[in-house]
Symmetry: C2
Subunit: 398 residues, 2 copies
C-alpha cells in the first residue's frame, strides 16, 4: 500500500491538479492555440545554440570517463565548478574558487542537499509569502517545518521585522527567492541588508549561524537594467542555490549548483556533510555531461528580450482592461490582484474564458493569481479579448 | 551549524573514507599503475559508441523542448518509456507498456522515489546480507528502518525462511540485488520463488501487499550464459529498479527507471504517488537528454567480454595463490573470504602491499572483502605478486 503520508496527494482534494485535467480537455476540444494557458513556468524560449555545439564538442573531445563517469568528487566536475566560480567572480566581484561550488541536480536537488545538511527533526526554516510551495516538501524531507512570513503587499518586499518575530531556537535558515516566483519582484539591496542585520544579531544571540538561503533560478531574468543584488555580499552565512533551468532553458536536464562561501560557519564540515548528503539522498552527483556543457556555456544566455516583450505586452494589456497587477522587475511571472476576493473562484471564472492562471493560495497568498508569461508572444494579444470578457462578466455581477 | 544527524559522517570514525585518503597518497607517491585499486565500482569499460551518435542525432533532430524541457509527465518522456517497455518485453516475455515505466535519476533516485511512495515513519524494509550499504540511507530518508537477514554462506543465496522471521506488521518491502553487489552471486529462480511464496502468504495474512523490490543495475553483467531471472514473474507485487550506470557505462549521467507492473496492488495510486514523490524529493524528472539517448540505445551494450576476462583472470589468479573466493556469476565483484579473521585488519594489511579492497563489514558481512574487477586487465596480472606477498606474510604470521 502507498505511504499514509502520500495519501493526501493521491486521494485528497485534487486542487490545482483538477484544473490541469480541465485544461487538457479544453486543449483537446478547442485546440492549443485557443486555450490561454498562463499557468506553467516552463521556459518558452529555446536553449541557446551554444549548448548544442558545446555538447557535440564535449562528445568529440573529452575523455569518456569525464563525460559519463562518476565525478571524482561528490561536489561535481572540478572544471565545471571552476568555470562557475570564475563567472560569478566576474559578475559580482566575489572571490569564489571551485571549492565554493557544488554542482547539483537543479536548484531543487541543491536545496534538498542543503536542507539535509543543516536540518534535524524539530528545526524550522522561514520564508516570505508569496513563495514557491514546494519549499514545504524540501524542508519536511529533512524533518524540518517551513514557517511563513505574511505577504507584504503592495511591494512584496520581504519584511525583516516580521521575519524576526518568527525566529526562535529551532530556526536554522531563512530562504528567499529573488527575482520572485510568483510576484516577479526583485528583493532590494535594502531588504537584504535588513535581513542580514537581523540574522547576524539573532545568530549571535543563539550562538550559531542562522543561514540565509538565496534561491536564484531567475537571477538572469531582470528587466529595465535592474540589478539583482548578490546575497552573499550582505550576510556572511549565505548559501546560494542556482539552476540553469531558466537562464539556459535546460529545465529537463536537471542542472544547477550551490555556492558555499568560505566565510560560512563550519565551512569544511558543511562541504563534507553536503557531499555525504548528495549521495545519501540518491542524487549521487549532478548529471555529468550537462555539467561539462555548463562549463562551456557559463556566458551564454537565453533570449531575455523575448520575455521582456511578453512582460510589457501582458502588463500593459491587463492594466488597460482594469486589472491591478504588480509591475514585474524580474522572472517571467505577473502577479495580479484578483478583481473578486476569492482567487480560487477567479481562477475558475477565468477558466470559463479559457484563461488558465494559478491561484495565489498555492503560494501562501490568497487574493492574487500568478500569470506566467513564458508563452508564445501571440498568445498574449490573442488572450486580451478573453481577459476583457472576464472583466466585463465580473463588473456585471459584483 | 550542520545537522546533528550528519555529524557522525563528518566528525565520526572516517572508516573507509580514511582508507581512500591513504590510497590518494599512495597514488601520488608510487604512481597510479603501482597501486592495485580494486575498491571502486566505477565501470572501466567506456560507454558504447552508439550513445555518442545517439546524442548527436537527438541534438540535430528532436525538438528543443523534448531535449531540454520538463517532461510532460513526471514519469518521464513517453517515447523513452515505451522503448524501455518494449525492450523488456522482447527479453523477458512481459507485457509492459510506457505506463509501467518511470524514468528516474539512476537506480538510487528510483529507490528513493519508491521508498517515499510506500514508507512511513516506523515502517521496515528487509534485505539480505551482504548488501549495498546505502540502502540504509534510502530507507531512512522516508522514515523507515532497514532490517538485515544474516549472510547465508557459502552460497549467499537469499534465505527466504530467515526473511520470514523478520517480517512483521511494519514490514512494507523486501529489497534484493541480483547480480549481487558485493558477492557477484545471481539469485536463483528457486530463491525468487521461495521469497515470492513467503511474501504472498504474509501479504494475505496482513491484508496488504509487502512489495518485493528488485534492484538490478548489474542485470546485463552475467557470465557463462547464466540467466538472471526476471523478478516480476515470480511475485505479483514486484517493483524493479534499474540503472544504465553499468550496462551503458553512464554512471555520471544519472539515468535509470522503475518498473511498476500493472498487477501490483493499488497500481494507479502507486503511480500517482510516485509522480508526486519524484517532484517532492527534488528530482523533478530524470535528466531529459539522456532519457532520449536511452530510447535510442536500449539494445546497446557495454563490453561485457572485457569484464568476463577480468573475472576469470582474477578468480584463477587468487585461487592459485590460496585465496578462498566465491566464483562470481555476475556483476564485476569478486567476494573473498579473508585469510585472517578480521576483514578490516586484512584490508589494512593489503594496503601495505598497495592492494585496495573493501572490507565486508561495509556490506553487513564481516570476514570477507569485495575485490572490484572493473579495472584495466593489466592491473590484475600486475597485482598478483603483491597478492602473493600478502598471502606469504599471512602464512608466516598466523
Amino acid at each position: 500500500m502507498i505511504a499514509k503520508a502520500m495519501e493526501p496527494f493521491v486521494f485528497g482534494d485534487p486542487g490545482i491538479g483538477a484544473m490541469f485535467d480541465v485544461v487538457a480537455k479544453m486543449v483537446a476540444e478547442y485546440g492549443e492555440e485557443n486555450v490561454y494557458n498562463f499557468s506553467i513556468g516552463n521556459p518558452s524560449e529555446p536553449a541557446p545554440e551554444e549548448v548544442k555545439e558545446a555538447i557535440k564538442a564535449i562528445l568529440d573531445e573529452e575523455p569518456m570517463k569525464r563525460i559519463h563517469g562518476y565525478n571524482a568528487s561528490s561536489s561535481g566536475d572540478a572544471g565545471a565548478r571552476a568555470a562557475v566560480a570564475e563567472h560569478l567572480n566576474r559578475l559580482h566581484g566575489t572571490a569564489f574558487t571551485a571549492d565554493n561550488i557544488m554542482m547539483t541536480v537543479g536548484a531543487a536537488g541543491g536545496l534538498n542537499v542543503l536542507f539535509k545538511t543543516i536540518l534535524d527533526p524539530g528545526t524550522e526554516v522561514i520564508t516570505f509569502a508569496p513563495y514557491f510551495g514546494d519549499y514545504n516538501y524540501y524542508v519536511e524531507n529533512s524533518g524540518g517545518t517551513l514557517k511563513v512570513v505574511a505577504p507584504n503587499a503592495p511591494t512584496f518586499q520581504p519584511d525583516a521585522a516580521a521575519m524576526e518575530e518568527l525566529i526562535n531556537e529551532n530556526t536554522r535558515a531563512v530562504i528567499i527567492n529573488s527575482p520572485n516566483n510568483p510576484t516577479g519582484v526583485i528583493y532590494s539591496e535594502q531588504s537584504l541588508k535588513e535581513i542580514g542585520e537581523v540574522l547576524a544579531r539573532k545568530s549571535a544571540e543563539y550562538g550559531y549561524a542562522i543561514f540565509l538561503v538565496a534561491d536564484e533560478p531567475y537571477r538572469e531574468l531582470a528587466y529595465d537594467g535592474k540589478v539583482v543584488p548578490y546575497a552573499t555580499k550582505y550576510y556572511d552565512n549565505t548559501i546560494v542555490a542556482y539552476s540553469y533551468s531558466k537562464s539556459l532553458s535546460l529545465p529537463g536536464d536537471r542542472i544547477g549548483y550551490l555556492v558555499f562561501p568560505s566565510e560560512i560557519e563550519q565551512f569544511d564540515a558543511m562541504k563534507k556533510a553536503a557531499e555525504c548528503a548528495i549521495r545519501m539522498l540518491g542524487f549521487i552527483n549532478a548529471p555529468s555531461l550537462i555539467q561539462l556543457a555548463v562549463e562551456k556555456c557559463v556566458n551564454a544566455s537565453t533570449n531575455i528580450a523575448a520575455y521582456d516583450r511578453n512582460r510589457k505586452a501582458l502588463y500593459e494589456g491587463l492594466k488597460g482592461l482594469g486589472y491591478d497587477c504588480v509591475y514585474p522587475d524580474g522572472a517571467f511571472y505577473l502577479w495580479m490582484k484578483t478583481p473578486v476576493e476569492d482567487d480560487g473562484e477567479f481562477a475558475q471564472m477565468a477558466l470559463k474564458h479559457r484563461i488558465v492562471v494559478v491561484p495565489g493560495k498555492a503560494f501562501g497568498c490568497p487574493g492574487y493569481v500568478r500569470v506566467a508569461y513564458c508563452v508564445p508572444f501571440e498568445m498574449i494579444g490573442n488572450s486580451m479579448p478573453a481577459f476583457k470578457d472576464l472583466m466585463t462578466e465580473i463588473q456585471d455581477n459584483y
